[in-house]
Symmetry: C2
Subunit: 331 residues, 2 copies
Amino acid sequence: MITGRQEELLKLIVEEYIKTAHPVSSKSLCETLDCSSATIRNEMSDLEEAGMLEKTHISSGRVPSEKGYRYYVDNIMRPKELTGEDVLKLQTIFQNNSLVLSDVIKKSVEIISELTTYTSLILGSSSSENKLSKVEVVPISDSRLIALVITDKGHVENKDIVIPKIVSINEVRQTVELINKMIVGTPIDEVSTKLEFEVKPVIAKYIKQHEVLYNAFYNVFSDFANESIFKMSGTSNILKQPEFNDADKIRDIVSKFDNKEMVKAIEEDKNGINIYIGSENNFDENVTVVKTRYKADGEEGTIALIGPKRMEYDRVIPLLQYIKENIERGD
Amino acid sequence: MITGRQEELLKLIVEEYIKTAHPVSSKSLCETLDCSSATIRNEMSDLEEAGMLEKTHISSGRVPSEKGYRYYVDNIMRPKELTGEDVLKLQTIFQNNSLVLSDVIKKSVEIISELTTYTSLILGSSSSENKLSKVEVVPISDSRLIALVITDKGHVENKDIVIPKIVSINEVRQTVELINKMIVGTPIDEVSTKLEFEVKPVIAKYIKQHEVLYNAFYNVFSDFANESIFKMSGTSNILKQPEFNDADKIRDIVSKFDNKEMVKAIEEDKNGINIYIGSENNFDENVTVVKTRYKADGEEGTIALIGPKRMEYDRVIPLLQYIKENIERGD
DNA sequence: AAATAGCATTCATCAAAGAGGAGTGCTAGA
DNA sequence: TCTAGCACTCCTCTTTGATGAATGCTATTT
């Protein structure tokens, strides 16, 4: 369907466009391909017919289409060796043995964002995937307690509980014990329901202040379920890309970054390095999202990089690969 | 220095400009002030000389200067009664008794941001103000522990500690006990130093695996100090204001929102509702920052609202006041 | 059959020019 | 002290034309 020379041409156009963000003209490729501009124009015309290239207006140079990027990523691109500089910056993180996993992830993703000038994102696993593994309660004053909620995916969160003084610490402990006995293993987003229909009736029998306690714990869990755990780095990075030279486009993407639901939807379930170009992703058709799922020490989540479709694919993929491997290998 | 009629005129101009974002012409105020445009022009000219008004170009209408806004806020503006609608939305939060304080603050600030289409911000007190009040450790697996760090300002954070199995849980407990004995009351950002020079030598004597334990706790605290606790709402809101119709300005402010140091610097130490117009704030000269400090249940922090200089001062101030009061009164 | 040279054509970009309109400042008179 | 009137400034919008970078197509060469 596509000749060897056409592939070569597509490669040159994609890579040139990634570098400069300017439509690529036939003339500019004469030397490299050692033929006249007319010849190249003919080939370009074929590539356009095949849906690989587009024009911004009738007499403009060519720009890769989504299909063109896709073909490039699937068939042409070879991942580049990481540069010494890139590795060096990342190593400082991975070789620091005293950092705990979550910090390693956070910092390495910050660095990736800085290295690439794209926006990066860490996303904990969703509350439907996290199962309750343990609840602990630590009293810190007469009427204030901290509840520690720990999930099987290794996520830990602390929540305040304020409880009137009539409730004895013993009653709290009993409640916690019951919760631990009855609903450990339940997905976080189902805990509230279970709490209501299974735990509530039981504690009502055994515990005097069951109303207050039920409410308190209900809040602990319902909040946990709503709060997805994520962290973005370099939100403003992607705005520096020339495709975002328009106030409306910027507003549009910033308000998407602002929107929890939108961001949560970036979560990835496949394991490798996955690339979603333009309309292939459900976030924003002007960007490419490169994501991977990681799993280490019982913790699980998604790492994503959001950049222009004109992304340095051959650099981003090995970078993400490198981070994923180092995270999963453990420090 | 300023006549009564000039004050009246300034009021009209400021309020009109706040509403429309268009320079105000002399003609448009004829009816209201019941005199000719020429008269108004003369007065405007005086107000300009007094530094209260500005022109965008030589034959344009007038726009309030920073000094003009300041005069308006200090001498002219009367806070408006909150509308029923506004109060209603906020009440749903404050009347929900089962919400803990931090959630009440978070949600009410989200609502303010939505009501005003400005950007809002909650800022915990800085690590130099937070003093260590207690450390607790909860083991969750053989080699993993959760450290709970609690400060006198009521802030609680949990950190992972990964520790090789040779370290006994008893050794950990002893270390925690020592820390609690020796450095409680120390400002968080000085804990690391104290840990090194006071605790380290002591645990070196008593505890076998002191090296590992020292490192672990060192990380717990150094991280805590770096992480300022803040939460923004409606980052994209302010971008909708007509003053941000320019890609460069948007990029500029978004990258400031992105910058931890910048955001931290918004922290307020004064107690009332404080207004910083344009260059009066050290965040961005195109915006006004309205802030207040809150203090409740031992928790302390700053609530800020970031909007255009052309802000609805007479609405924002009572809104913030209302939230502050309700937070401090307790639910 | 494939490659190329040549040429008409399209369109973005930029600068200049002009019309229209919204303002102002100033002056002279009420 | 106020106001009518007028000259003037400058923004905004549209038009125009020049320039140049591309393309597509066709006829010719290899």
